[in-house]
Subunit: 733 residues, 2 copies
C-alpha cells in the first residue's frame, strides 16, 4: 500500500543511498530477454497490484496508438517511463490540475522533451481541463490550435518550461529549485512555510552528455539544492544505438562527486512502490539534490523494445496490435482508457484543490500576522516591482568619458538593491560587469565558508555561477519561469560568451521570459584579449532572433534608456550590450528615445547624407559628421541602439528618422554589416575577425579613426554622383 | 637527477595513482602563509637544485616585468605554473624548436589561454626562432606584427591551436590525441612507430567548469586516450575569488568516474622532480588518459599571491621590484635572462633536431619497406586527397524528389569511403544525417563491445560523439589542427544544434581550419519537432561570421556543388545546410555554379522583377515565377546558395546576376530577413519562431505556399508603382 504524499509531510531521516547491483542488460540482449519476459509476464505482473497493471498497460498502449495514428513521434521513452509517471502524478507530486498555476505547486520539468506524450498523457489522466482526449490525439496532426506539440511548450497548462534541445530542462530545473530556495528564505517564517514546493526533473541518457547539463549538475551540488530531484530514465539507448557507444562513465560515482545523493532503482518498468519510496526519500533530503537512477526499457512490449528503433518512430500497426493482444486488449480499438484507469486518477483534481485551499488559508493567516512581509509576498506573486524603481535611475551622469559597462552599474545597482525581484548573476566576471551593489548578499548555501572569506545564504540575490555561461542562461530561464516576473533574473558576462549561452538565451526568447543579459566588452574596442574575445558577428544572431531586444546604448544616457526598456519588457528577454572602454558622453543623446530603437541625434534639412552611429562607436559617427563639415558635406546623425525596437515603430516615424528617399545613409559599426542594408546604403564595418591590440590601436588598424572614415564617406558621395547603379546597391566602404 | 625523455622511451609499468593528501590551503590563508614562506624561502629552495631555482625565479620575474611594462595582462597563472613549464619543456616534451612543424612532435595545448605568457616565454627560452626577446616584449603593445597576442594563436610557431574561450583547448587536445590514435592505427607497423606523439594539455580551474570541457572529458575517457595528459593548474582562484564560491565537487573522483587516471602533485610551485615523474607516468599509461592535479599558487611571490587580484592585472611597479629584491635580483633591471638560464635551455634545439633526424630516417626506412603505405602516409602528411576524389561524385541524380540530406549522403559517402583523410562524426544523429558509408568502421577503443553489438578500432573513421555537439565541433578543430588537411573532420547534426556548437565552429573559422559541418533539418520544413528544432535566425550568425562558408543547396545538383566547394576549401570551414524533407529536383540548377554563390536560374530580359530562391525553398521561387506568368508578370529567378561565395565574385558578375538597377528583387526564405536587404528589395521571410506542425502545414501557416506568395509579390509590384519611396526601402511582405 502506497500512501499519497501530503503537503505537510516532513521526513527528517537522513537520505540513504542504495548502491547499484548489477546493471540489467539492455540493447539487443534485452529483446531476447523480453521474449522470455513476455512468456513470464503473468508472473512479473503479480508484483503489481491489479490497478497498477491496468494503468501501465493502458498508458503504454495509448502512447503506441498516439504515435501510430500519423506514423511518427517518439513512443519508446514515454512507454518506458510509465511507472515513473504513475509514481509522480498519483503518489508524490503536489499540484492542482484545476488550478494549474497554483503558486506553491511542485514543478515538473521534462528535460527529455521528445518524450512529451508522457507528460501530455498524465496531464490528461489527472484532469487538466485543456488537455482533452481530443487534444491528446492532435499530437503530430495538422491542427493549428493543438496543445500537443512535438516538444512540451510553456504556454500549455501544466507545462513549466519549454524543452526539447537536450540538457536545457535540467538546467531550468536547477533555476526553479533556486527560485524556491530564494523565496523560502525571503518569505517563510518559523510558523509559516508559504513556499515549500519541490522540483522534479526527468532526464534521459542524452541530458547527461550535454555540457549545459553537466555545468548545471555541478552547480546544483555546490548549492546543496535538496529541493531538487533528477529522475534518470536510464534506458541506455540513444538514436545511434546503446549509450556505451559513446559514454561508459560511472554516472553514479560522478554524481556523488558532484555532491548529489544517488538512489538506484533496478526495475523502473514496473516497481512503482520502489520508485515512490525513492521519490519520497528525495523530497526528504536535507542537504543535497537527489539523483534517482532508474533502469527502464525503451519501447517496452514492442518488437523494438530496448533498441534505438524504439526511440523516434511509430511501431507500425502490426506491432501495436500485437502489444494490445499480449496485454489482453482488443487490437481493433484505439485510444482506450477504461473505467478502472479513470477511477484510479479520479480524485486527483479534488486533492489538488484541497492543497490550493489549504495554502490560500495559510497565506491569509500569514498576511494577518506579517502584514508587511505578506504584502510584499503578494506583490512578488503578482510580478510587480516596487512602485518607485524608475526614480532610482540617476537623473544625469558625469560628463567625463565612462565605459558603458560602468554606466550600466550606475543605473542598475540601486535598482537591484531596492527591488528584490532581481536575482543578479555573473559567470565569474564580477570585476568586469559592474553588477555588484553595496551590501549585496550572495545566493549560497548558508553553511558555506569559502577560502576567499565570502559567505551568503539563500535569501541572497547575487549569484556566482562560475565559468558556466550556458548554464547561467538556462538556469535563469528556470528562475524566470517559476512565476511570471516574480523573479527577474539578470545574467552578466563578456558579450562574446553569450555565444556559449546562446541556446539558452534562445529558449528564453521562445518562452517569452523576462531575463536581462548584461554583456560587456562588446566590440573590437575590447582590445588586447584579441579576436577570440572581440565580437564581430554575434550581434547579427541576436538582431535576427525573434522576441529578444538586443540594445547597444551609445553612452550613459542611452544606458539608462536601455535599462528602462529591459525592465519594462515583461515578456521578452533583453541583451544590454556595453563597452569595456570609456565612451565620451554625447550631449544630444536621450534616454527616452532608446525605446524608439533609433532617433535623430543631429538633424540637417538640406543634408548630403545620414550617418548612423551605434553603441560604443556612436561618437565615431558624431566625429565624422563634424569632420565632414570641413569638406562642406552636411551629415545628419542618427543614433541606432536597437533594430527590433525601431521595427516596432510606425512607418511614418521610421521614414522621418531615416529619410532614405532623400539622403543616402552610411552606417559606422565594427560588426559584420549584414542587416544594416535595411537602413543604410553603405557601411564602414568588419569583414574579418579582430586582432589583439590595445583599444585605440585596433580601431586604427581597421580604419575606425575619424580621418580615414571621413575620407571613405566623402569618396563614396563622389562615387554616387558618377555611378547611378551604386545608389541601388549596398557598398562596403 | 632528472633524465630528459627520449623518443624511444617505453615505460610499461602500470600507471599508479597517487591519492591526494590534505589539500593545501588557498585564497587569503595562503597569503598569510606566504609571508612565512618568504622568510623560510632559503629552506624551501634547498629542495631545488641551484639551476632550477634560478630558472624559476628568472621566469617568474620575467612574467611580472612583461605584464608591468604596459600595466596589463595575466601574470598570476603563468607565474604559478613555472615549475610545470620547466618539467614539460626541459624534461618531458618531444619537440623541435628549429623544426616547429616536425610531424611527430608532442602537441601542447594551453587551454587556459589567458596565461599565454607562460607559453610564449618557454618558446623563447627553448629557442623558437621567431619568438625573440623583442617579440616577447610586444605582449600588450601596439605593435601590429606582434606574435604575442593576448591569447595564443595558431599562426605562431610552436602554438598548436588558438585558445582563449575557456574549455575549447581541452576539447581540441582530445581531437589532437584522437588524430594520433587514428594515424598510428593506420600507418604504424610492428617494426615502425612513425607516429608516436603525446598530447599535453594545460588547464585551469575554469576549464573544469565549462560544459564543452566536461563533454570532452567524458568522451576522452570513453575512448581510452592513453596518449592524452591533462595538467590541471589547481590554484583554486578565478576572477570572482576562490573556486569554492562556485565549485565544491571532488574533481579527482569525478575524473576517475570518467575513466581517467589521476595523479596528485602537492607542491606544484617548486617540485619539478615530482611533476616530471607524474608526466612520465602519464606518457606510459596504457589504458586511460591521465589527469594530473597540481596544486600551485597564483601570482606566487607577489603581494596578491593566492588571490583573485593576481589573475588579470599587473602587480604594480613596487611589488615587481619587491619580488626581485626577495629573489636576489636587481629591482632596477628588467627582462633579465642570465647566462645560467640560457645555458639551462641551450641544448634543446639540438636535441629537437636529433629527434627530427631520427624520425626522418625512420620514415625513409619505412617507405622502403612499405612503399604503398609509405606513399600514402606521405600524401596524408602533404594534406592531399587521392587524385580521383572528384570522379566519385555522381554525374547525375534521380529526378524524383529527395531530401537534400539524403543527396548529401549520395555525394559524400563514396568520397568518405575512398579518401581516408575524412573522419566523419555525428552527435548521435546517424539515422538522420546520412553520413554512414558501406563497411564504415567506427573509431573506438579496440576492446569495446557495446550492448548494441557495434565494435570498432582506432583506424575507424566514423565517430559517434554522443549527444555532445559542442565538443564534437571543438574536437574536430583538434583533429584538423594536427597537421594541415592530413585529417579533414566532418561533423553532422541538426542545423539547430550548431547553435550549441557555435563557439567551436567560430574557433575553427578563426583558425582557418578545414572542418565540414553537415547540418540537416535546416528550416521550418523540419515540421513536427517544433520551434525548438526549426532554425529561423541561425543562418544569420553563420552568414555574418568571417571565414566560414555557409551553403544552402537547393537540390541534389547543388548539393554536389556544395560538397565540391567544401572539400576544396583547404583553409576554411564550411556548413552544408540541408533539408529533412524531400525537395523537387530543378532542371536548371548547376553544380558548378554553386561556387559562384548565386547564379541566374531563369533569365528574362524584360523582366518585372527578380525572385531569389534559396536551399530547401528554392522550388518555391520557381513555382511563384511560374504562377506570376498567369498575371502577366515576368520574373527572373536567381538561386542563391551562399552569400560569402557570391561576395567573392567580381562586381560585374554580381551585377549581372542581380541587375538591381533594372529590376526590383524579392527573396523567399523562411529565415529572418536580416542581410537579404543587400540583395533584394523585399522578402517573404520569418519574423517569429516556427511552430510544431507537419512540414506542409507549417509552410502553409506562415504563408509559404505558391498562391499567397504570388499574391504578395504582385501586390508589392503594384505598390511600387504608386509609392516612390518604397523603392528605397526594404519591405517585409
Amino acid at each position: 500500500m502506497i500512501s499519497p504524499s501530503t503537503d505537510n509531510m516532513h521526513i527528517n531521516s537522513e537520505t540513504s543511498t542504495v548502491n547499484g547491483t548489477s546493471h540489467t542488460a539492455y540493447g539487443k540482449n534485452v529483446v531476447a530477454e523480453l521474449k522470455k519476459e513476455e512468456k513470464e509476464e503473468a508472473k512479473a505482473v503479480q508484483k503489481l497490484s491489479k490497478e497498477h497493471d491496468i494503468v501501465l498497460k493502458t498508458f503504454r498502449i495509448l502512447i503506441a496508438d498516439l504515435c501510430q495514428q500519423f506514423g511518427g513521434g517518439h513512443p519508446g521513452g514515454a512507454i518506458g517511463m510509465a511507472a515513473i509517471g504513475v509514481a509522480l502524478w498519483k503518489y508524490v507530486m503536489r499540484y492542482a490540475p484545476h488550478t494549474p498555476d497554483y503558486f506553491n505547486r511542485d514543478r515538473f520539468v521534462l528535460s527529455n522533451g521528445h518524450t512529451c506524450l508522457f507528460q501530455y498523457t498524465f496531464l490528461h489522466l489527472t484532469g487538466y481541463k485543456d488537455m482533452t482526449l481530443d487534444q491528446l490525439k492532435s499530437y503530430h496532426s495538422e491542427r493549428v490550435d493543438a496543445i500537443c506539440p512535438g516538444h512540451p511548450e510553456i504556454e500549455i497548462e501544466g507545462i513549466e518550461v519549454t524543452t526539447g534541445p537536450l540538457g536545457q530542462g535540467i538546467a531550468n530545473a536547477v533555476g526553479l529549485a533556486m527560485a524556491t530556495k530564494n523565496l523560502q528564505a525571503t518569505y517563510n517564517t518559523p510558523d509559516f512555510d508559504v513556499v515549500s514546493n519541490h522540483t522534479w526533473c526527468m532526464i534521459g541518457d542524452a541530458c547527461l552528455q550535454e555540457g549545459v547539463a553537466l555545468e548545471a549538475i555541478s552547480y546544483a551540488g555546490h548549492l546543496k539544492l535538496n529541493n531538487l530531484t533528477v529522475i534518470y530514465d536510464n534506458n541506455q539507448i540513444t538514436c545511434d544505438g546503446s549509450v556505451d557507444l559513446t559514454n561508459t562513465e560511472d554516472v553514479n560515482t560522478k554524481m556523488r562527486a558532484c555532491n548529489w545523493n544517488v538512489i538506484d532503482i533496478e526495475d523502473g518498468c514496473f516497481d512503482i512502490e520502489a520508485i515512490v519510496d525513492a521519490l519520497n526519500q528525495a523530497r526528504a533530503s536535507t542537504d543535497k539534490p537527489t539523483f534517482i537512477n532508474i533502469r527502464t526499457v525503451i519501447g517496452l512490449g514492442s518488437k523494438v523494445a530496448g533498441d534505438a528503433a524504439a526511440h523516434g518512430a511509430a511501431f507500425g500497426t502490426e506491432d501495436v496490435a500485437n502489444i494490445k493482444r499480449v496485454y489482453g486488449f482488443n487490437p481493433d480499438e484505439h485510444f482506450v482508457i477504461g473505467k478502472e484507469v479513470r477511477d484510479f486518477f479520479e480524485k486527483i483534481p479534488d486533492r489538488g484543490q484541497q492543497l490550493v485551499q489549504s495554502w490560500e488559508k495559510k497565506v491569509q493567516e500569514y498576511e494577518s500576522k506579517y502584514p508587511e512581509l505578506g504584502a510584499e509576498f503578494r506583490r512578488r506573486r503578482e510580478g510587480k516591482l516596487p512602485d518607485n524603481w524608475e526614480d532610482l535611475i540617476p537623473a544625469s551622469f558625469p560628463e567625463k568619458p565612462v565605459a558603458s559597462r560602468a554606466a550600466s552599474g550606475l543605473v542598475f545597482n540601486p535598482i537591484a538593491k531596492a527591488c528584490n525581484n532581481f536575482m543578479v548573476g555573473t559567470a565569474d566576471l564580477s570585476p568586469s560587469v559592474n553588477m555588484i551593489w553595496k551590501d549585496k548578499v550572495d545566493f549560497q548555501p548558508p553553511d558555506l565558508k569559502t577560502q576567499c572569506g565570502i559567505t551568503g545564504n539563500y535569501s541572497g540575490r547575487y549569484i556566482h555561477y562560475g565559468i558556466r555561461e550556458h548554464a547561467m542562461a538556462a538556469i535563469s530561464n528556470g528562475l524566470a519561469a517559476y512565476a511570471p516576473n516574480t523573479i527577474i533574473p539578470v545574467t552578466s558576462s563578456f558579450f562574446m560568451f553569450y555565444l556559449y549561452a546562446a541556446p539558452a538565451v534562445r529558449m528564453g526568447a521562445l518562452q517569452h521570459l523576462q531575463v536581462i543579459h548584461v554583456a560587456t566588452h562588446d566590440s573590437i574596442g575590447t582590445g588586447e584579449d584579441g579576436p577570440t574575445h572581440q565580437p564581430i558577428e554575434l550581434a547579427n544572431l541576436y538582431r535576427a532572433m525573434p522576441n529578444i531586444l538586443y540594445i547597444r546604448p551609445g553612452d550613459s544616457e542611452e544606458v539608462a534608456g536601455a535599462w528602462k526598456v529591459a525592465i519594462e519588457a515583461k515578456n521578452t528577454p533583453s541583451i544590454i550590450s556595453t563597452s569595456r572602454q570609456a565612451l565620451p558622453q554625447i550631449p544630444q543623446t536621450r534616454r527616452d528615445m532608446v525605446a524608439k530603437g533609433a532617433y535623430v541625434l543631429e538633424e540637417v534639412d538640406d543634408a548630403d547624407l545620414t550617418l548612423i552611429g551605434v553603441g560604443a562607436e556612436l561618437s565615431f559617427a558624431v566625429n565624422v559628421a563634424e569632420a565632414l563639415k570641413e569638406k562642406n558635406i552636411k551629415a545628419r546623425v542618427v543614433s541606432f541602439p536597437s533594430w527590433r525596437l525601431f521595427e516596432a515603430q510606425p512607418l511614418e516615424y521610421r521614414r522621418d528618422v531615416l529619410r532614405r528617399h532623400r539622403f543616402p545613409a552610411v552606417v559606422i559599426e565594427p560588426y559584420a554589416a549584414n542587416g544594416w542594408e535595411r537602413y543604410a546604403n553603405a557601411g564602414i564595418n568588419m569583414k574579418r575577425f579582430g586582432q589583439s591590440l590595445p583599444c585605440k590601436a585596433v580601431y586604427k588598424l581597421f580604419g575606425f579613426e575619424t580621418e580615414p572614415m571621413t575620407e571613405k564617406v566623402s569618396a563614396y558621395l563622389e562615387r554616387l554622383k558618377s555611378d547611378e547603379i551604386l545608389r541601388t546597391e549596398w557598398v562596403d566602404l
